[in-house]
C-alpha cells in the first residue's frame, strides 16, 4: 500500500478511537467544503509536476479569478455563466506561464515566481485591496440554497477530479504528459512535442484553478481580494505527499487526493486530539519530509538497524 494511504488510515483509526466526534456529519461536511479549492489546486499542480515543471503562481491565479467571478456576478452575469468564465480566465493566466516556460524557455520556478508576484500585485493595483461586496442574492451557492448548493459544489469537484484521473491514466494525451516528464529528450525524439504538452499542462492547470476560485467564492457573500495566500505550497505539498516525483514522470491524481485528505484532516484532527494548533505547520512539514525521504532512507535505516542487532 502507498505510504500516504497508510498514514491516512492510521490517522483515521486514531481519530475513531480517541476522538469519534471527528466523524460527525457536520464536521466532515465542513472539512470537505474547506478543501475543495485546495483539492482542485493540488490536482492542477500535479499536471504541471508530472511533466517535470512547477507552478507556484496558482495562489495568485486563484485570487485574480475569484475577483473576476465576483465582479462579473455583480455586473449581472447569471450564476450558471460564472463557472465557464472563471475557467477561461484561469486558462488565460496559466497560458501566460505556459508561454514563459515553453516558449521563452524560462525555468518554471523562476517564471511562476515572477507571475505569482505580478498576478497578485496587479490585482491589488486594480482593486485597491477592496473586497467585492454587495453581491446579488443568486451568487451564493449559485442560488441553489444552503442545502443543495454544497452538494452541487462537492459533486462537481468530484466529477472533475475523477475525469482527470481517468484521462491521465487512459488517454493518449495523459500518457504523453508522463512520457514528457519521464524523459523529455526521448519524448522529443518520438515526435511528442514536449514544449506543446508543457504549455497545455500550465493552461489546463490554470483552468482548474479558475474553477476552484469560482467554487470557493460562491461559499460566501463577499469575495476577498487576497484569496489563495499560500495555496501553492499546500497544493505542491499534497502532490508530493501523494507520491508525485518533483522531477516529473511519476505521480497520480488518486495519490494527490489522498495527500489533500491527509493535510486537510491533520489540522482539524489536532483540535480533536487536543494538540496545540501551532504545531500544524510543523507536522505538515514532517509529513512532507517523511513522504519524500522515507522511501529513500527507510531501506538503509532498516539495514543499519539490522546491522546494530
Amino acid at each position: 500500500m502507498k505510504p500516504v494511504l497508510l498514514a491516512l488510515t492510521a490517522l483515521a483509526i486514531l481519530l475513531a478511537v480517541v476522538a469519534p466526534g471527528f466523524y460527525s456529519p457536520g464536521n466532515l461536511r465542513e472539512l470537505a467544503l474547506n478543501n475543495v479549492a485546495a483539492l482542485l489546486a493540488a490536482v492542477a499542480v500535479t499536471l504541471v509536476i508530472l511533466c517535470g515543471e512547477i507552478d507556484i503562481s496558482i495562489g495568485s491565479q486563484l485570487a485574480v479569478c475569484s475577483v473576476i467571478v465576483g465582479e462579473l456576478a455583480r455586473a449581472g452575469v447569471p450564476a450558471w455563466g460564472l463557472l465557464p468564465i472563471a475557467a477561461a480566465a484561469g486558462a488565460g493566466l496559466g497560458a501566460v506561464n505556459g508561454v514563459l516556460v515553453s516558449g521563452w524557455r524560462i525555468p518554471s520556478i523562476v517564471a511562476t515566481l515572477a507571475t505569482m508576484a505580478i498576478f497578485r500585485d496587479g490585482l491589488r493595483w486594480a482593486t485597491g485591496g477592496a473586497w467585492v461586496q454587495d453581491l446579488p442574492a443568486g451568487f451564493q451557492w449559485f442560488g441553489l440554497g444552503q442545502r443543495a448548493g454544497p452538494v452541487a459544489v462537492f459533486s462537481l469537484t468530484a466529477v472533475i477530479v475523477a475525469v482527470l484521473a481517468w484521462s491521465l491514466r487512459h488517454l493518449t494525451a495523459g500518457r504523453a504528459l508522463y512520457a514528457t516528464g519521464s524523459n523529455s529528450e526521448a519524448a522529443r525524439l518520438l515526435g511528442l512535442r514536449p514544449q506543446r504538452l508543457v504549455f497545455g499542462a500550465f493552461t489546463a492547470a490554470g483552468a482548474l484553478v479558475g474553477i476552484a476560485a469560482c467554487l470557493n467564492a460562491v461559499r460566501f457573500v463577499e469575495v476577498p481580494a487576497n484569496a489563495g495566500l499560500g495555496l501553492e505550497m499546500k497544493a505542491i505539498a499534497a502532490a508530493v505527499i501523494g507520491g508525485a516525483a518533483i522531477t516529473g514522470g511519476r505521480g497520480t491524481v488518486a495519490g494527490t487526493v489522498a495527500g489533500v485528505a491527509l493535510l486537510g484532516a491533520i489540522g482539524t484532527a489536532l483540535t480533536f486530539l487536543h494538540v496545540d494548533a501551532s504545531w500544524e505547520k510543523a507536522i505538515q512539514g514532517a509529513i512532507i519530509l517523511a513522504a519524500v525521504a522515507g522511501p529513500a532512507v527507510a531501506p538503509s535505516f532498516a539495514r543499519s538497524v539490522r546491522a546494530a542487532r
Partner: protein, 501 residues
C-alpha cells in the same frame, strides 16, 4: 536503387570537423557495418540519418527521394529507427508503454488500449528473445534489458533502416545470438541495417559490407569477406604521425606513483597494475568504456579503490576522496572540460586559484591582488590567451580553457598529473601548445598519466603506453615498440575476452 543514400555529408561542431565529404550507401536486405576509432565520426553520421543531428551540407535520400526535413520524427516517418548504446527510454513508465509510445500514433484524445499494449509487448519481446515482464518499470531494468526493449520496439515498428550503435557491448553470448537471429530475420524482410561495433570478430558473422571511417572521412567500403580484421585495423588507424609532438627526453627519476591490483566493482575496474616514474609520461589508450576514465577516477578518489593498493613515492596511501588526492599532490584534468574542467562563468584568475585558495587568502578573505599575480604568472607560463585574468573563462577558446584547467593544478605544485582527453575538441595550434606544456611538466619532474583516444598523440607523447580493455590494463609497451596497429588490436582483443564472459 539504394535504400538510403548519403552523398557529400559535412558536419562540424564549432570549428572542429566531425564529418568531411562522407558518402554512404545502404541497400535493402544488407547489414552494413560501420567501423572506426573513437571520434572517427560514426555516431555523428548515424545521428544525421536518425534526424538527431542536422548536417551542414550534403544530401540524404531514402528510396531516391531527398530528405529535406532533418527531424527525428521525419526520420521515423521514413522508417529509420536508431538504437543507441544508452537506449532513449522513459524510466518511469512500463515496458509495454515504452514500446507502445514508439509504435502508436493516435489522436491525443483517443483512449489507450492497455490490453492490446500488453499483448503487443509480450509478442515483440518474445520475438526479440527477451524474457521481460511487460509490466515492469523500465528504471528497474538493466542496460542490457533496456537494449532488448529498444530492439523489440524496432521490430514492432517494422523499421526499414535500422541503426544499431554498439548493440552487443553489454549483452551476454545467448543474447547476442538472439539479436543476430533477429537482425538476420529483418534483413530477410528487406530492411537495411547499419551496424556499428568495435568487436571486429563478430562482424563476419553478420555484416555483408563494411565502411571504415577515419577522422571524419570515409576511407573505404568493402565486401565483408574481403576485409579481414587486420586489414580493417590498418584502415582504421592509417594516420600520419606528425611532428607536432615535442616530447622532450627526460631521464626518469624514482617511481612516483604505483598501482597494485586496483579494482572497483562499481566502475568495473579490476586488477590494474602500473607504475609512473617522476618525469615520465604514461599514455593510456583504449576504447571508450574500457576503464580509462574509471582508472583516473579511482586514482583521484572519485571512485575509491575497493581492491588493491596505491603507492605514492613508495608509500601506501588510502585515497578515499578527491580532497585526499589533492592533498597528496595528485591533479586531475577531466574530460568534458565544459562540465568538469573549468567553471565557465568564473574568471580566469578565480579558476586558476580554485585548487589552492589558501595560498591567496588571509584570515578567510581572498586577496585579489595576490590572486591576480598568481593568475598572471600562470597565463604567462602556459601561454593562455585572454584579454585579462578577470575575463570569464567561457569567453576563451577551447584550447585556452583547457590550459586554465591545467594551470589551476600547476599553481599548487602537483606531483602526479592525470590528463583525460586533454586535446579533445581543440584546434591544431592549441593542441601543439598543450603538448608542449605536458612535455614541460614531465621535464619538471611530474609523473603524467595521459589518457587519450588520439593514437598519434599517445604515441608521440608517451614514454610508455598502457592499453586498457574491459576494465583492466591488457598490455604496456615502450615508446619504441608501440604502433597504432598493436594498440588497436590489443584494445579490440582485450574487449573480446571481456565481452564473452
Amino acid at each position: 536503387m539504394a535504400l538510403l543514400d548519403a552523398s557529400s555529408v559535412n558536419k562540424s561542431y564549432g570549428g572542429v570537423t566531425a564529418l568531411r565529404d562522407v558518402s554512404f550507401e545502404l541497400r535493402g536486405g544488407e547489414v552494413h557495418a560501420l567501423v572506426g576509432e573513437n571520434g572517427a565520426g560514426k555516431s555523428t553520421l548515424v545521428g544525421i540519418f536518425a534526424g538527431r543531428v542536422p548536417p551542414d551540407s550534403g544530401v540524404i535520400s531514402i528510396d531516391g527521394v531527398p530528405v529535406t526535413d532533418h527531424a527525428p520524427s521525419s526520420a521515423r516517418a521514413h522508417g529509420v529507427h536508431a538504437i543507441y548504446q544508452q537506449p532513449a527510454l522513459f524510466p518511469d513508465l512500463s515496458v509495454a508503454e515504452n514500446i507502445a509510445l514508439s509504435l502508436e500514433s493516435q489522436s491525443p484524445l483517443a483512449p489507450v488500449n492497455w490490453r492490446r499494449r500488453r499483448l503487443q509487448a509480450r509478442d515483440l519481446l518474445a520475438r526479440a528473445a527477451a524474457s521481460i515482464d511487460p509490466e515492469r518499470t523500465v528504471s528497474s531494468l538493466s542496460i542490457a534489458e533496456q537494449q532488448l526493449v529498444a530492439i523489440a520496439t524496432a521490430v514492432g515498428a517494422r523499421a526499414r533502416v535500422l541503426i544499431l550503435d554498439e548493440p552487443t557491448a553489454c549483452l551476454s553470448a545467448p543474447e547476442i545470438d538472439a539479436l543476430f537471429a533477429l537482425v538476420g530475420e529483418l534483413r530477410g524482410q528487406g530492411a537495411g541495417i547499419i551496424y556499428i561495433s568495435h568487436k571486429l570478430d563478430e562482424l563476419p558473422r553478420i555484416a555483408d559490407r563494411v565502411t571504415v571511417l577515419r577522422d571524419g572521412r570515409r576511407v573505404e567500403t568493402r565486401e565483408m569477406a574481403a576485409a579481414p580484421a587486420a586489414e580493417l585495423i590498418r584502415l582504421m588507424v592509417g594516420r600520419e604521425l606528425s611532428a607536432i609532438f615535442p616530447k622532450q627526453d627526460v631521464a626518469p627519476g624514482a617511481t612516483a606513483v604505483e598501482g597494485r591490483g586496483l579494482g572497483c566493482r562499481r566502475t568495473g575496474l579490476h586488477d590494474v597494475d602500473f607504475t609512473i616514474r617522476a618525469g615520465e609520461i604514461l599514455g593510456v589508450a583504449g576504447l571508450i568504456g574500457s576503464g580509462r576514465t574509471a582508472l583516473a577516477q579511482t586514482l583521484f578518489g572519485l571512485e575509491p579503490a575497493e581492491a588493491g593498493q596505491i603507492l605514492l613515492g613508495g608509500r601506501a596511501v588510502a585515497i578515499d576522496a578527491p580532497a585526499t588526492a589533492r592533498a597528496l599532490g595528485i591533479a586531475y584534468v577531466p574530460e568534458d572540460r565544459g562540465r568538469c574542467g573549468v567553471i565557465g562563468a568564473m574568471s580566469v584568475a578565480e579558476n586558476v586559484t580554485l585548487t589552492d585558495l589558501a595560498s591567496v587568502s588571509s584570515r578567510g578573505f581572498v586577496n585579489r591582488e595576490r590572486e591576480d599575480r598568481v593568475a598572471e604568472h600562470s597565463c604567462e607560463r602556459l601561454g593562455i590567451k585572454t584579454r585579462g585574468v578577470r575575463a570569464a573563462v567561457s569567453e576563451l577558446s577551447g584550447g585556452n580553457q583547457q590550459k586554465v584547467a591545467v594551470a589551476k593544478w600547476l599553481s599548487r605544485g602537483a606531483r602526479v598529473m592525470i590528463l583525460d582527453e586533454p586535446t579533445q575538441g581543440v584546434d591544431v595550434g592549441a593542441k601543439a601548445e598543450i603538448h608542449r606544456l605536458v612535455s614541460e611538466m614531465a621535464a619538471d619532474g611530474l609523473a603524467v598519466m595521459l589518457i587519450s583516444s588520439d593514437l598519434p598523440e599517445v604515441l608521440g607523447m608517451s614514454d610508455r603506453v598502457a592499453v586498457m580493455a574491459g576494465g583492466t590494463i591488457v598490455g604496456t609497451m615502450n615508446r619504441g615498440d608501440a604502433t597504432p596497429e598493436k594498440i588497436l588490436s590489443m584494445s579490440l582483443g582485450g574487449m573480446r575476452q571481456a565481452g564473452t564472459s
